[in-house]
Point group: D2
Chain length 135, copies 4
Amino acid sequence: MVTTVRHKVNFYDTDAMAVVHHSNYIRWFEIGRVEFLREAGITLNQLMDDGYVFPITEVSAKYVNSAKFDDELIIETTPEALTKAKMAFTYRILRASDDTLLVTGRTQNVFTSMETGKITRLPDAYYNKLKAMLD
Amino acid sequence: MVTTVRHKVNFYDTDAMAVVHHSNYIRWFEIGRVEFLREAGITLNQLMDDGYVFPITEVSAKYVNSAKFDDELIIETTPEALTKAKMAFTYRILRASDDTLLVTGRTQNVFTSMETGKITRLPDAYYNKLKAMLD
Amino acid sequence: MVTTVRHKVNFYDTDAMAVVHHSNYIRWFEIGRVEFLREAGITLNQLMDDGYVFPITEVSAKYVNSAKFDDELIIETTPEALTKAKMAFTYRILRASDDTLLVTGRTQNVFTSMETGKITRLPDAYYNKLKAMLD
Amino acid sequence: MVTTVRHKVNFYDTDAMAVVHHSNYIRWFEIGRVEFLREAGITLNQLMDDGYVFPITEVSAKYVNSAKFDDELIIETTPEALTKAKMAFTYRILRASDDTLLVTGRTQNVFTSMETGKITRLPDAYYNKLKAMLD
């Protein structure tokens, strides 16, 4: 199941090459991830209130075409793998006006206990909601 | 007493006009403020460990000239006013190579208790260190 | 005439005090300004293609309440003053869920020629569109 | 040959988990790359004045430990591969106080003509300076 969210490129996202700075797409993967969780019935705020954080352990991206100021982007987020301890997503970011592929990427996250700071196993209540999204 | 700290402009600080985005100078005032506190013998981490935060309530800036990628900047921070509940600073940011004035600014901060989230009075141990910097 | 645009707070907009970093609101004023121009029938890209840029010369903000991750914000932009050489806006940023006022602000911009880098007078075609928004 | 540059973590680099947001390390790889070029006798400004840009086509990072506000970081940049059309770097970011490894990464860049927007072959004057750094 693919989660889709739109994001407009702001002027402050551009750099002196007059295109979006490459680091911003890494931030926009996060927008996709948060939206994926919301569609799974989980808000990051809830997860944190329950003592879990969801830090990134790996990120990668390939830059195919550049986004420019005022472009409307489509961020597609797809769950790739899930265990009770970690989760991987893949991403595609496209320009909405012509469906040009701009960036592809992948992140690996782990579920961590805020109390111990260590990797932990996600309770079933959360795990099952995420699992349902991979089917 | 003026606190001086240097900061190099990174490529990711620029925007599509090929100059530093104006919001970044607001961030760099923070670098100046943190350095001022350090010269007063206070680290922001210490302050937070003791339960105090130091949020901004007002900021203003005038943009005189533009910084560009790879410019070395001088951030000058001057304490303007201090009570046990709040503190104001003024700033000047200059290009180091030719002392061109780029930006002037001012911030108003309040001392806030992390526990209550409310404005609080700073203990003498901190207040006296800050006070000594204004003399 | 007030221009209204919505913006969701992303996780990367927060800082270690678990609220939005104050510099981000300065960026969001820009979102409001760009949207105001669009409602006036002007895109910033058009303006730049015609050789005009619109740099900030002054900014100020008062921080009343803090936004948090996942808050939906309303950015209100109001034109305050206009000549052929410069324009001022005021802003209010509110939390959409309960209309709490978070930040107020003001910016002063100038119209600048990309060719000369100097302040210039805006042609009537643009000026009249902006003027119509103040009436 | 490894290029080393230091960078202090600012408060605005942190997020609501009270650690550096993962996207910032991607920005800091850029600081390392720019410093590497400088040590090779090339400034990015020179390269751009000569009509070349150096966009990223791939980035990856592994996050091992978290940096916090006020940490001093060491950014190590190592050239991995070089042709006249592209260049790869690897990175290590460490906490200076105790040499803890925080992040490792890799970028792939291409040399692009600003005029055509296409990948181009770097002239010998630049290529030889870069080549000397890999030996």
